[in-house]
């Protein structure tokens, strides 16, 4: 797909990143594009899922006056995929202010997603004032501790971690969860592909704005022996990718509003762009990890 094609197909608002796991390697494409990943033949051995993030239902700022509409648009895009994802993961900040009404709304909307299953991890906006109790009562079924869990699907081991419930400056996993990670992967073969979801990045994307997790290194130390580890996060409202050894980190974009790039401006405030220029001023990133290659292919495209 050319840059032009990608720009034409890509819709920044509500854009969701679709990732396919083929033979342990993760291939990423932007939903709405006509990539080979999206059009891949149905393969019972291929895990395909969608990540959606940072919908902030209840936000009422000029940066996006209709976050509900753009979240609905994202869901429509997922449902319009030429395949049915094995699962959809929302990586947090489902709500803006953790109110009961906002949790009800997001749960109802996620109920309209057509996928094998729908999963979530909480963002800090989902745990305001109640240490995540509202979130856990809505989405916490089947999870342990503060809402973490894991599952296996088509040979891939998936960890969903919570680093937003006891934070100070940075995201924090805590000793209980670190112990969970250690025990959870202890019996796995080292060639099992590992997927790790969290809201806040597990790498130091920009600690000055809280874009990092202070005890992530300990969690990752339990995953070092695995040949393929992919960490997917939200929180930063922009696409970003980096690889470190066998671990690859992908930050997802948002369905709500853009945030500045790290360190640009005094604070991570919602960015209000001139009418009609939002897409032109923003970009999307394709990330692919082709089987047999050790490096990620990254393609940044300015939306037209």
């Amino acid at each position: 797909m050319s840059r032009r094609q990608l720009a034409r197909h890509g819709a920044w608002f509500g854009a969701a990143v679709a990732l396919s796991v083929v033979g342990g390697e993760v291939i990423s494409s932007v939903v709405g594009g006509t990539t080979s990943a999206a059009a891949a033949a149905d393969d019972t051995a291929t895990l395909r899922f969608v990540q959606v993030s940072d919908s902030h239902l209840g936000f009422t700022g000029t940066a996006n006056p209709d976050v509900t509409g753009s979240f609905a648009h994202a869901i429509d895009q997922v449902n319009a995929l030429p395949y049915r994802p094995d699962f959809v993961m929302h990586t947090g900040d489902l709500t803006h202010l953790s109110t009961a009404a906002q949790f009800d709304q997001v749960k109802q909307m996620l109920g309209g997603v057509r996928a094998g299953s729908v999963h979530t991890v909480p963002g800090e906006h989902d745990a305001i004032h109640d240490h995540g109790r509202g979130y856990l009562s809505t989405f916490g079924a089947g999870s342990a501790g503060d809402g973490w869990y894991s599952f296996d699907l088509k040979g891939v081991h998936v960890l969903a971690l919570v680093n937003t419930l006891s934070l100070e400056k940075l995201g924090h996993l805590g000793p209980d969860q670190l112990d969970f990670v250690r025990r959870d992967v202890a019996g796995l073969s080292s060639d099992t592909p590992i997927l790790v979801f969290s809201h806040i990045p597990l790498f130091a994307m920009y600690p000055e704005w809280g874009w990092g997790t202070d005890d992530a290194a300990q969690a990752l130390s339990h995953l070092r022996r695995f040949s393929s580890v992919t960490c997917l996060n939200g929180h930063v409202h922009q696409l970003f990718t980096k690889t470190e050894g066998t671990v690859t980190f992908h930050s997802a974009t948002t369905t709500a509003y853009p945030l500045p790039r790290p360190g640009v401006g005094p604070a991570p405030t919602p960015q209000t762009l001139p009418a009609g220029r939002l897409r032109a001023a923003l970009g999307i990133r394709e990330v692919s990890h082709v089987q047999g290659q050790t490096t990620l292919a990254i393609k940044d495209s300015v939306l037209s």
Binding site: E168, L170, G212, F240, P262, A267
Partner: protein
Amino acid sequence: MHFVDMLVHRWDLARALGRPYAAPDELTRVLNPCGGSAARLAPDDRLLPGDRPGRVTTPAIDDRDDRRGPRAEHGGPTALARRTGRKGSYPMWCSSVLRRPRRLFAVAVLAVAFPGLAACGSGSGGAASAAAPAYAPAATPTATSGAGAGGGTTPPSTPAPMPGMSGMATGAPGAGGATAAGKPVSATRVAIQNFAFSPATVTVKAGTTVTWTNQDSDPHTVTAKSGAGPDSPTLDQGATYQYTFTKAGQYAYLCTIHPFMLGTVVVTP
């Protein structure tokens, strides 16, 4: 070590004079047993804080650099940091030495002085850097330098006047004394502005009521880190919160939604 001194002092002098500096080949050959190419040191390299006082470098994320891998031929500390596996982002799992800009500066100087030694001598780190030589997102090293250039230790929680940010101001803060960032100010009004408490630290007498006003469009809270102290509900734009401090002591607080926003109230008897 004498050669190292020569190299570093030459560079330091060149930097002080604002002149470019290329290390003599014989020096770098001696100091670089791994056979790496000579580092050309430019005084304006963005990894080094303080080179351009007052200049805020924005950390442009240029991942094309990541794909290109280390730029061995025109090194500079950024590339050296890559070569040595020292991550400019001072990730959490890095040595704490790397997490402070000043020390990072020192490490950068060392990395400059020992381009080969550092690459070879970092033990398992050397292997790691060989496995992932391309890593070192441009974002984080320059972010580090941005903090350094913007005023050394100015934390993001203080709205220190930084160049290029005036456009974000939304009006005069309610606190009259909100001038010196982080410096204790006698005030009873704290503005929440641009994701920071302003003034970040206020000093009041016991029995004083402090008022916080959220001037951001984003919601914030005023929540004591531990124990007794302020514990506000979610404050929307324009909302205020008041708390009366009855006992002397230091009250550290944060915004639970954006916990990098930190403030302190010092209550004197």
